[in-house]
Amino acid sequence: MDLSYSQENEEYRAKLQAFLQENWPLPESLGDLEARKEEFRRRATAAGYMMRAIPKEYGGSEQPLDFLKGEIIREEIKKHGAPTEVVHIGTGRVVPVLLAHGTPEQKAKWIPGTVSREFMWSQGYSEPNAGSDLASLKTRAELVGDKWIINGQKIWSSRAHKDPYMVLLVRTEPEDVAPRHKGISYMLVDLRQPGVEIRPIKQISGEPEFNEVFFTNAEAPADAIVGGRGNGWNVSRMLLRFERAAFSGINWADSLIARAVKTARSTIRNGRPAIEDPSLRADLARLQARAMAMRYSAYRDMSMEAVGEPSGDYMLMQKLYLTEFLLKLDDITRDLLADDLMMLRPGEGGDGLKGNAKWVDATLQSLKIRIAGGSSNIQRNIIGERVLGLPRDQVGVNARKNQEAAQ
């Protein structure tokens, strides 16, 4: 157990600081701000500070997994104000799948363009009648000649209106394949074709962010499936695990606490800053205890994984734990905001504490977090079954048996 930055790591940090000094900001002669940011990222990748998990041959820097170095890079880039690595579905989810399951041809075709952000991706998993229960999805693809012909509807694709490519979970095998998830494949599709219609969905905040995507005889080439026909379920579950493993939730929790403290400083109660109220301070400390519990549990898990030990079940629980954190934070911010809760955008005349509108949006977003990526009830099923060894849920199973018996 050693949380100190070792000599090696301090040297790494010093080298990184020197790199940052030298490379940011870049001279204006290198183009506009966007171009300069891109150039910085290219250099940072070449130096091993970005795209660390991606092989060099595909444009990454191919560094060994080291969560402490990851934290050092995050800290120093933030401190220096340099451009951060662009996080997107492509590098976060598509590339790992391709690396693990793609053919050499698929890797060559898709990875470099995804790493360079020439190919941007949205995700087509959920359907109107298959949310938490992905195995029941209905969008089908049939191989006709050398093409997959796709028909069906996807929903909650958060970037389909902006990004031209989609990773699709689609039924390619007969309906009566059992278990049902065996009939699903993982497919890469270009959305820029006549058979695809994209309709934005407005969120409750009033902003469009999601889309419905309709496929009517849309096409994909025969080699569009990654990981083999009928293997999409396993491929996508690997993705979900990957998604959960991130520290992003923990760092987000820390930043939310910092923001809540800032709000509590600028909110006046009985003539004094609210942050001086002992009861509020205790509530904020309660949140901090939860954030720390997450951080050090994750450190433990990752330290064990790094040496190949089985790391326990904490990662299965983090999303539900974070959900509870957000709920408690909402209770605190509701009381701090008071009237400002009623404004979705602050008044131009200076009404509303600066920053409070962000909290109103945050309380709506926290509802989305609870729903997205598997509902809390699904999480509880998984935890009850995998962590505690309790029986699998019988209701769905029995309902299906009864349906079959009735047929």
Partner: protein, 359 residues
């Protein structure tokens, strides 16, 4: 002694429930939500025709001379149907004048409010979290007022404003007399848009019994908001109940899953008992004024906390669809937040209630 609605009250609530039946209202409320109308004038006119605006106005001033109990029963239905009408401000302005006006002031203002000819609202808070009359700083000078007020419901459409003044006084401003300008922005609850109002030497008529009426008006606001919260909480609960009975997952209806059933049970167990709280708040306002501040503060604090919590839970039960603009659940979710915030955050009201005890 009894604590049930008499036949007149039952009939009143039944009639307004019919006016506000969900399937009639849905397209009208939608038109407001989607920005096609600024507010639901059609329903408001039907409510005026029914007599809503005259309920608490004395008969000699053109009203029905009933009590806050009857008005709260209507507020429950307005909350249930999420009506996009300027009820809250108008009702509170009316109550302020009923409670605080001289006979002449009542005769001057109430007939127009009772008939619905004049639309009114209230302009009370200045900074954030300044709902108590003792928080107000605005001072009349030479018969006019100047300054900034916030959180005025449907303030952009009101012709008459009851304004909170220093020392808990209340003044009436007729918008047509000038010196009144409204700053609008994007409110969360589009069915009850609030705005800020700037007064610039606007002519003001001080109510004779302002300070007493100001506390009464606040208590009335709390009772009406708790009624709204009770009605709204039941409505969004019913939406979730209906949804889990049709939506399928894993080959079964959501409602077949015990976890879902128990979540629904936990929701309704929080919602239903708050009816007694809002009833008693309205009842004590009308019949036991010495208990009104305590009862109204507890009722609004508790009922709006429940509404807010339940609205979040019910939204979550809808899955992704609950997070879309097209699905109606968010209308109630946002009304819940309005009910939580307007009139004072719960923590402050619980502390206000405690101050009414011998603790």
């Amino acid at each position: 002694m009894n604590f049930r609605l008499n036949e007149d009250q039952q009939q009143l609530q039944g009639t307004i429930a019919k006016i506000l039946a969900a399937d009639r209202m849905q397209p009208r409320t939608r038109a407001v939500i989607d920005g096609k109308q600024s507010w639901d004038k059609e329903t408001w006119q039907e409510l005026i025709d029914f007599g809503l605006t005259g309920i608490v106005v004395p008969e000699e001033n053109g009203g029905m001379g009933m009590s806050l109990i009857e008005l709260a029963l209507c507020a429950e239905e307005l909350g249930r149907s999420a009506a996009a009408v300027p009820f809250l401000g108008h009702a509170l302005a009316t109550i302020a004048i009923v409670e605080g006006g001289s006979d002449a002031q009542k005769a001057k203002y109430l007939p127009g409010l009772a008939s619905g000819e004049v639309l009114a609202s209230v302009a009370l808070t200045e900074g954030n979290d300044t709902w108590a009359p003792e928080d107000w700083q605005m001072k009349p000078e030479g018969g006019t007022i100047s300054g900034h007020k916030r959180n005025v419901p449907h303030g952009a459409f009101a012709q008459l404003l009851v304004v909170g003044l220093a020392g808990g006084a209340l003044g009436v401003v007729e918008v047509a007399s000038g010196g009144v300008s409204c700053e609008t922005f994007e409110p969360l609850d589009l069915t009850r848009p609030i705005c800020s109002i700037d007064f610039d030497h606007a002519k003001v008529d001080l109510l004779e019994n302002g300070p007493a009426a100001a506390v009464r008006t606040w208590d009335a606001a709390l009772a009406l908001l708790s009624a709204d919260a009770y009605g709204g909480a039941w409505k969004i609960t019913e939406m979730a109940r209906d949804y889990v009975q049709v939506r399928e997952a894993f080959g079964a209806k959501l409602g077949d899953f015990q976890a879902i059933k128990h979540q629904m049970a936990n929701i309704v167990v929080e919602v239903e008992p708050t009816r007694g709280l809002y009833w008693f708040a309205a009842y004590s306002f009308a019949k036991m004024p010495e208990k009104a501040t305590h009862a109204a503060s507890l009722a609004k604090a508790q009922t709006s906390e429940v509404y807010d919590k339940v609205a979040r839970m019910c939204t979550e039960l809808h899955g992704g669809i609950g997070f879309t603009w097209e699905f109606d659940a968010h209308i109630w979710l946002k009304r819940a937040i309005f009910d939580l915030a307007w009139g004072g955050r719960p923590q402050r009201l619980f502390i206000r209630a405690a101050a009414q005890t011998d603790w």
